[in-house]
């Protein structure tokens, strides 16, 4: 098991090194405002004792989950359509490429105008951020299906339904999973920006509020660390999908 041990020890050593460097830097520069790792941990523990940390994490996860699921529900069918029907690609691709580079932050004023300040606005922003990677990856997946598989299906004269269920969808599934991983990553990435307009919960709200209400940088950093750790857990959950038997062919060999 030395390689398994290495998988735990090596990343842990890097993290320890960074925390140590941070600590030394704070002590050496004698900064009055930037917290040490211990202060951050104490602040986080304080939130845990109050019970508010889990509320913040839960609120953020709810918004990201809702926005992400909406993006999947819209993006995968749209991507399949754009990948399969040439006319749909020609008609829709320009508008997708125009909307895609607009940062969700630019949408904040419109989100407030349309949905007010509540849960809907952040969910809308997270949806916007994560729907485009899903569409683009799914459509690209359809476009890159190996022609020999489509020919084989055509050769056997199977119905359109069977072609879609047994050939097209499984052929694109690995790409859809990759697209979903990217989407969820982006969704989690924009949670802070999206929660700038949240009322009073969420990790993004925690960070903005801690800064505004008395420069509590220990809480700011605690929020950042929580975002990072949650993001890691989300990504490793998505990675498990890559081990499903139906997509193993893409990753085996």
């Amino acid at each position: 098991m030395p390689s398994k041990l290495k998988q735990v020890v090596a990343p842990l050593a890097i993290v320890t090194l960074i925390v140590a460097a941070w600590w030394i830097a704070v002590l050496a520069t004698n900064t009055p405002i930037f917290p040490t790792p211990l202060q951050v941990a104490t602040a986080a523990l304080g939130l845990v004792r109050e019970g508010t940390l889990w509320d913040h994490v839960g609120a953020s996860l709810f918004r990201v989950g809702a926005g992400f699921l909406l993006a999947i529900a819209v993006g995968i069918p749209l991507g399949l359509l754009m990948g399969w029907v040439r006319g749909a690609f020609i008609a829709l691709n320009p508008i997708v490429q125009i909307l895609r580079p607009i940062s969700p932050i630019a949408w904040i004023p419109l989100a407030i105008l349309w949905f007010g300040v509540g849960d809907v606005s952040p969910i809308f922003l997270i949806f916007l951020a994560s729907v485009f990677p899903t569409i683009v990856q799914t459509a690209a997946g359809v476009h890159t299906i190996d022609r020999r598989y489509l020919w084989a299906a055509e050769n056997f004269g199977v119905s359109r339904y069977k072609l879609f269920i047994q050939v097209v969808i499984p052929a694109v599934l690995p790409q859809i999973i990759v697209g979903s991983r990217i989407s969820l990553g982006v969704a989690w990435l924009v949670v802070v920006a999206a929660e700038m307009i949240a009322l009073h919960s969420g990790l993004g709200y925690l960070i903005i509020d801690s800064r505004n209400a008395g420069n509590r940088y220990d809480l700011v950093v605690a929020g950042m660390v929580m975002i990072g750790i949650t993001g890691l857990l989300l990504d490793s959950t998505m990675r498990r999908l890559e081990r499903l038997p139906i997509v193993r062919w893409r990753y085996a060999r």
Partner: protein, 245 residues
């Protein structure tokens, strides 16, 4: 003998960077029912294009293909293609691959799959995924998936050339054994002259691109054929002479 497949006056060219590229320049070919025809030619001579036209995946610029006297314009399960890279679906199990082509109401797809798995020597591998199989096993799976729909014609495009030499020889013998049990009309594209001699009833030699029929050899020997037999050695020499060797 009645002709199963007729390719009449086939011509085909493709657009390329340097203008039209003529690939096939007039090929007439008639294949009898139950006959095994091998088409050999130098690489890049248009063999695969000819096969794709006969199987209905590509359309000739001129000429036409008929099967049982009826014009063929698109692929159908009457003639199944088995290609070099193979097209066994990697996301389906072997069993699901075998029954993929069964469209109608089949009494017992499982029993059919078992029968053909046994015929090609895949028994015990049905629940595995293709990436768990060796190259030779994959070929067996592809062959079984084709045979199960009872195609009248098997179009084989260098089916064994991606295999290692030993497996390729094994599969050659297997193919002969299977075809002895299930009678099919076969078209084999290959650049392996020995493979053609061991399998086919008739060998058609194509010229350099644009392809025309350069020579035709009958192979009137009983199976199993021993390549060391003087008649076969002589035939091989005659075919190789067509390639200037």
């Amino acid at each position: 003998m009645p002709a199963k497949l007729v390719a009449a006056n086939i011509e085909k060219s493709f657009a390329s960077a340097s203008g039209r590229l003529r690939v096939i320049a007039g090929i007439d070919l008639s294949i009898a029912d139950g006959e095994f025809v091998a088409i050999v030619g130098p690489s890049g001579c248009g063999k695969t294009t000819l096969l794709n036209i006969m199987a209905g995946f590509e359309h000739p610029d001129r000429g036409h293909v008929t099967i049982d006297g009826r014009a063929r314009s698109r692929p159908s399960a009457k003639g199944i293609v088995i290609s070099q890279q193979g097209s066994v679906f990697p996301w389906l199990t072997v069993q699901q691959n075998l029954t993929f082509g069964l469209n109608g109401h089949h009494v017992d797809k499982g029993a059919l799959a078992r029968h053909y798995a046994k015929l090609v020597g895949l028994t015990g591998f049905e629940n595995g995924y293709p990436y768990e199989l060796s190259g030779g096993m994959l070929k067996r799976a592809e062959l079984a998936r084709a045979l199960i729909v009872k195609p009248e014609i098997l179009f084989m495009d260098e089916p064994l050339s991606a295999l290692d030499a030993l497996t390729s020889l094994q599969m050659r013998a297997e193919l002969r054994r299977i075809l002895a049990e299930e009678r099919h009309t076969c078209v084999l594209i290959t650049h392996d002259v020995e493979e053609a001699i061991q399998l086919a009833d008739r060998i058609i030699v194509l010229s350099q691109r644009p392809a025309t029929i350069q020579a035709v050899f009958a192979v009137p020997f009983e199976h199993p054929r021993k390549l060391a037999h003087p008649d076969l050695i002589e035939l091989k020499a005659a075919i190789l002479r067509e390639f200037g060797l």
